[in-house]
């Protein structure tokens, strides 16, 4: 079991009111799974994603990632978990505009304290893995949307994390680029990477082997095939 969420509750305080966003959410993910979390906006899926990504803490519940009890860790150790165990992919890519694709991919390795020469090697390998060996020295403004997202995926994978966590990875892409990104996720999953993807698009969710839906802060497992 790579990821174990049990009875997660998350409340937000709004003025004098307490708004429950996640209600008793439990999710178990095995090593090598490809899971889509689907739900409309306001369903609490972003909050869930932030908790899974160790950016936010639940009000109550249990969370274990790669054998670590996440909720007992301090900020410094949480940063280490984000660095080593989680690879983030965002809807709007979040590439640093003034850096080349290679430098963007190498960024997490700086925080991991990897030497410059090794950093460049590893970043180049990651870019080759996503099929962008021709674009290493391009800056984000010189890349198409699909290419940008693939650079972002290379960055997420460069530290060999336990899970790849993608938040609406195709939200800003056209259908052709979306298809390429989905193919890349499939390829990475085939290589043994655990993928957790959050989306509101059932077509995209359909690429995953397992789909869970979230509605009004409650999670439910969807059995069988999802309509394309």
């Amino acid at each position: 079991m790579i990821l174990k969420l049990d009875h997660i509750y998350k409340d937000y305080i709004q003025g004098k009111m307490t708004v429950p966003v996640l209600k008793d959410v439990s999710l178990h993910v095995e090593q090598g799974e490809y899971v889509a979390i689907m739900g409309p906006s306001g369903s609490g899926k972003s909050t869930l994603m932030n908790i899974v990504g160790c950016l936010d803490r639940p009000t109550s519940g249990e969370y274990e990632l790669a054998g670590k009890n996440i909720l007992k860790l301090n900020d410094k150790l949480l940063a280490d978990v984000r660095l080593n165990s989680i690879g983030f992919v965002f809807q709007n890519f979040q590439l640093l505009p003034r850096m080349s694709a290679l430098d963007n991919v190498a960024l997490p390795l700086i925080y991991a304290g990897v030497r410059k020469k090794v950093r460049r090697e590893k970043a180049r390998e990651a870019l080759i893995r996503v099929g962008l060996e021709e674009r290493v020295s391009f800056t984000p403004s010189q890349l198409s949307g699909g290419q940008k997202q693939r650079v972002a995926i290379a960055r997420a994978m460069v530290n060999r994390p336990d899970i790849l966590l993608a938040d609406e990875p195709t939200g800003a892409l056209d259908s052709k680029s979306s298809k390429q990104v989905m193919e890349l996720f499939q390829k990475l999953n085939d290589e043994g990477v655990t993928v957790i993807m959050i989306t509101h698009d059932s077509g995209i969710a359909g690429h995953a082997k397992r789909v869970v839906t979230i509605f009004d802060g409650e999670l439910s497992e969807q059995k069988g095939e999802v309509a394309q």
């Binding site: 932030n50 990504g53 950016l55 936010d56 900020d75 410094k76 940063a79 280490d80 984000r82 660095l83 080593n84 983030f88 965002f90 709007n92 979040q94 640093l96 003034r98 960024l107 997490p108 700086i110 925080y111 991991a112 410059k116 960055r155 997420a156 530290n159």
Partner: protein, 418 residues
């Protein structure tokens, strides 16, 4: 760390105009301080060079009483138990390793017995000198003639004036050949002497005026042999020694005073010989000129403070602008410390560059001041280094608040904002 410095340069370069305007406060502050410090240092070196025996390494060993130089105004002031310097004692002084040359003289100051054309001449000193006096003190006769052997042998009543005395007594006349009366005895002026090297201080404040102008209104010299004609025999003498080098001056002065004090009668306990401490005198003048300029440094520092606040302001803007960058970095595993370090480095690099430009402009300004107003300047390397380090420190101090703000950004908030 090096990576941070590289990224900071990149960031500063990509906002050239903004970075330059941010640095401007620091540049102006540092430039003013450097030019002020250069001026202080230049003036101080000038004072020192000129005061230390006019570059001639001379030390006056004179009589002191209760910490003040003992001045003889009239007969009644002559202290008991102090003899004329004998040839034997003079040889002893000349044999000192630190001493190159020695001369002895009698002196009366502000004597009221000097008349020219029935007008009393006030404020001048009169000295009875030996043949070594002018060569030891670095004076040359630039008009008329020097004393010769015969003047001493024949007790001639002749005088040499220094330029100041000549200017005070004879405004529009040629002094050579004129006769003045000293204690009702007529003396003839045969020459005018001047210091080889002259110190013309820059008078910019009232204090400067008083400190430089407290010197008397000139000196009249006569052959020592003629001294008893108007004054008395066997008056105590003062001594001037020329040291072998600047470093020897202190030794030469002290050893000469020791030798002379041994000749004083044991009954004379109040009045002793002491070397005039030129370095101390230079120090006093330097302190005076520094005191005024130190106030200017404080004013220039205000500009640094304003510059620092400008840096803080622009760093806060920069943090807001780069909120999503900070959020991303935190999401992919950057520690708070890394973010803090990145922004602190950026602020420090920014102000250090400002400091370096400031030092360069300050040196330039100092040169211009030197060219335009003639004030002596001297660039201080340690001061320049301290200025650059200090600007770096300003960056760190004023960059701290924005950097802490960046480090404490909530990554969720930071990523959400677009």
């Amino acid at each position: 760390m090096l990576e941070n410095v590289r990224l900071s340069f990149q960031g500063i370069w990509s906002h050239k105009m903004r970075s330059f305007l941010t640095m401007l406060g620091i540049i102006i502050g540092i430039a003013s301080i450097i030019s002020i410090v250069s001026t202080i240092k230049g003036t101080n070196e000038e004072i020192k060079n000129n005061l230390i025996g006019s570059g001639n390494n001379t030390v006056e060993v004179v009589l002191y009483q209760n910490g003040y130089t003992y001045t003889i105004y009239s007969e009644s002031d002559i202290p008991h138990g102090i003899r004329e310097v004998t040839d034997e004692v003079r040889e002893q002084i000349r044999d000192l390793e630190s001493v190159e040359n020695v001369t002895c003289y009698n002196e009366r100051r502000n004597t009221d017995s000097i008349f020219y054309l029935n007008n009393e001449v006030n404020g001048v000193s009169i000295r009875g000198i030996d043949t070594d006096y002018f060569s030891t003190t670095g004076y040359t006769v630039h008009r008329g003639r020097n004393f010769i052997e015969d003047d001493y042998k024949k007790f001639r009543k002749v005088l040499i004036l220094d330029q100041t005395a000549a200017d005070t007594m004879f405004q529009n006349e040629d002094p050579i050949g004129k006769t003045i009366e000293i204690s009702k005895v007529p003396f003839t002026i045969i020459g005018i002497v001047d210091a080889v090297k002259k110190f013309t201080p820059t008078i910019s404040t009232v204090q400067d005026y008083y400190s430089y102008m407290s010197e008397d209104s000139g000196t009249i010299y006569m052959p020592k042999a003629s001294w008893p004609i108007v004054y008395s025999y066997d008056e105590p003498e003062n001594v001037i020694v020329r040291a072998a080098s600047v470093d020897d001056m202190e030794n030469a002065g002290r050893q000469t005073a020791d030798i002379l004090n041994k000749t004083i009668s044991p009954t004379q306990t109040e009045t002793k010989y002491k070397a005039d401490d030129v370095l101390e005198r230079a120090q006093r003048l330097q302190d005076l000129s520094s005191a005024t300029n130190n106030q200017l440094i404080w004013i220039a520092s205000i500009s640094l403070l304003v510059g620092g606040i400008g840096v803080m302001n622009i760093m806060l803007v920069s943090v807001t602008e780069r909120t999503s960058e900070i959020g991303l970095k935190k999401a992919i595993g950057a520690q708070k410390g890394s973010i803090l370090g990145q922004f602190l480095t950026e602020a420090a690099v920014l102000t250090s560059i400002g400091g370096i430009i400031g030092v360069a402009s300050g040196i330039g300004m100092a040169q211009i001041i030197n060219k335009v107003s003639g004030v002596a300047v001297s660039i201080s390397v340690p001061a320049s280094a301290v200025a650059v380090l200090f600007s770096m420190l300003i960056g760190i101090i004023f960059g701290l608040l924005p950097s802490v703000k960046a480090a404490n950004l909530d990554p969720i908030e930071a990523l959400r904002r677009e």
